[in-house]
């Protein structure tokens, strides 16, 4: 690393994707290093540090550490489910290094390899962010089931008042399950053979972050939540039908009573006339 590279002053790059400013390449990296902010689904900003190296970056151990520290910067990690890793994942890959954390990533490698690595990392970051968001929403729903589970069995007198609330949770559960179904093919993508550098990175990232296992777990949870709210919906419908039936029954009773009264009046009138 040259003295110029060691320049401790952080440099600012223009954000190529979003036009936002304020991104700074961490100090101590080569002058060719760059930074991008990319919006990944579901609308989350992902900062990507790109550090070109030449050949095997054996002499760039310091760069790797600097990039790792930058990626792990505190306060950047979005609120994640407990199972979610907050420690940056470092993947050495045939002369390149890739670091990933939920809000930041870095690729270090020969110039000719950086494009493939960036595309693969960003695709993964989008997929992971999507899954993390679904995990968060599913966990919220799961917590709510504790209070709602009783309504899946029987509605009490307060039940009808909660119908709208339960309906909105059911809709949210359906949306989470739909999101998980849509994400499935990207998470459970079969390994590519013969592999490319991008496919090797994608496989390692999925493996290290246990993406398939997380997807399966949250899918199981979403199915459970969906069952609860489907049952709540069933009970809500039954309660509404029961309410309507009760009104109908009262109407019939009133009509019968009225009919009976009229009959009595008629009977009394006929007796008086005789």
């Amino acid at each position: 690393m040259t003295a110029k590279d060691q320049d401790a002053t952080a440099r600012h790059d223009v954000d190529a994707d979003s036009g936002a400013t304020g991104l700074a390449v961490p100090g101590g990296l080569p002058t060719t290093a760059g930074l991008r902010r990319v919006m990944v689904p579901p609308g989350r900003a992902f900062d990507l540090l790109i550090v070109p190296t030449e050949g095997e970056p054996a002499d760039s151990g310091d760069w790797i550490e600097r990039a790792r520290l930058w990626t792990a910067a505190p306060g950047l990690l979005p609120k994640q489910p407990a199972a979610h890793t907050a420690v940056p994942v470092l993947i050495p890959l045939y002369g390149c290094h890739v670091i990933w954390a939920p809000a930041r990533g870095a690729v270090l490698g020969p110039t000719g390899r950086l494009d493939q690595l960036q595309v693969s990392l960003l695709e993964f970051a989008g997929c992971e962010a999507d899954l993390a968001d679904l995990e968060l929403r599913c966990n919220r729903l799961l917590a709510a089931t504790e209070g709602d589970a009783a309504a899946a069995f029987e509605f009490d007198e307060r039940g009808p008042d909660r119908r709208a609330e339960l309906a909105s949770r059911f809709q949210e559960a359906v949306a989470v399950r739909r999101g998980l179904a849509a994400l499935g093919p990207a998470v459970h993508v079969p390994p590519v053979h013969p592999p490319t550098l991008a496919s090797q990175l994608a496989e390692r990232l999925r493996d290290r972050t246990r993406l398939p296992e997380r997807h399966e777990l949250v899918t199981d949870r979403a199915d459970f939540v969906l069952q609860i709210y489907e049952a709540c919906g069933q009970r809500a419908s039954e309660a509404a039908i029961a309410r309507r039936q009760m009104g109908l029954e009262w109407a019939i009773i009133v009509i019968l009573v009225a009919q009976l009264a009229l009959m009595i009046v008629e009977l009394l009138a006929s007796r008086n006339s005789t």
Binding site: I91, P92, Y94, G112, P191, H193, P195, T196, L197, Q200
Partner: protein
Amino acid sequence: MPQIAIVGGGPGGLFTAWHLEQLATAPIEITIFEATDRVGGKVITPRFTAAPVHYEAGAAELYDYSPVGDDPLRELVESFGLPTVALGGSRVYVGGRAIANLDDLRDAYGDRACRDLGNFDTWARSVMTPREFFASGSDHAGSAEPSGRFDTTLAALPSREIRHYLETMIHSDLATPPAATSVAYGLQNYLMNDPAYMRLYCIAGGNEQLIDALVARLAATMRRSTVVEQVGEGSADQLRLTLLGHEGRREADFDIVVLALPMDALGRLAFASGSLAAAMQRHLAHHDHPAHYLRITLLLDGPPHTPTDDDGYLMLDAFGGCCLYLESAREPEARHGVLGWLLGGAAAESMAAWSDADLVTAALATLPDPLAVDPERVLEARVHRWTGAVSSLPGGWQPLSQDQRHRPAAKTHPGLFVVGDYLYDSTLNGVLDSAEHVAGCVAAELTDHAREI
């Protein structure tokens, strides 16, 4: 009580005993005879003396077929609660250049070579699907398996570079030159690199733990350091074994004898009866296509300066194509480095005569620059010669049916069975299949016999 002798305390013998004990519906008495003082055969995980570090000296990896179908070995390992580690490695060093993916291949040889590999890959998959790969070696394999010589397939590749790349990639698994093996076996060894066909794994802490787990659970009597010299005819349809052990030479009769021996040991065994000797000669002649391995393992004073990838092994184009196991890379906290070379085929056979010191020097000289190790860093070196230890499955060779394979003299000596990896694909998974088949046959016969009585 039926007396069963299993000759050979390698994985074949132990697996057979294990399955017999699981399947037997009546009490049986199993005795395992092992010529040496250790059991486990080619599954051996010794320790260096210079440091408490273990290494694989024989079978280094197990095949995981579970993505395609039933995997009895994987199930057995899991049932014993043994932790496993996935093994991967896509780097092939050709001319000192690392090729780990299509991007590297394109950089090294250009777009045309990349297309050639793609075409070969597409053809290989069309010839053998994952299901066919899984069924190969069994009676369900079908006659569609290509049976020509594998070198003719490679010769048809337009790109010389791709040919060399493929030969380097699969040579150490073939353990024989492409000219001496079949298209089917060659393709299997190429396709096994595709995770859709199978995956590799090893047992954390050493594959020999599988042997220890088996031995701990077996009720069979184990006779170590007992050489079976001859198989002959005993009284009342029994088979008589001539044994040489600590107590001298003696004879013993058994109802069932299972020969679970490697090819070379089977060739040394004497058969007293003429018909039995002739049957065994036919068996040997059909299956004796020896292939060779040689393992050189070095203990280093620290982890080697290998690129710190996840890969557990890589391929070098030295010695006609060899595998370099980065054994210490499997243990993140390893203080020492362990590098293991697996040589196969003609190189392994010819170099088996070399001294250990010469082999170590030759091995170190094969390391490309990024992996180079100063000889001063070598604390200890171990060499294991596995000459003729596996079978090469030559081109044009037609496998026999399962029953013919395992009962060389079914009519004259129905109580004699053979078990071996050479009856399948020279893997641990293959020998388990072999053992399962024989145990099933024996258990069925014993049940029938008990009913008759």
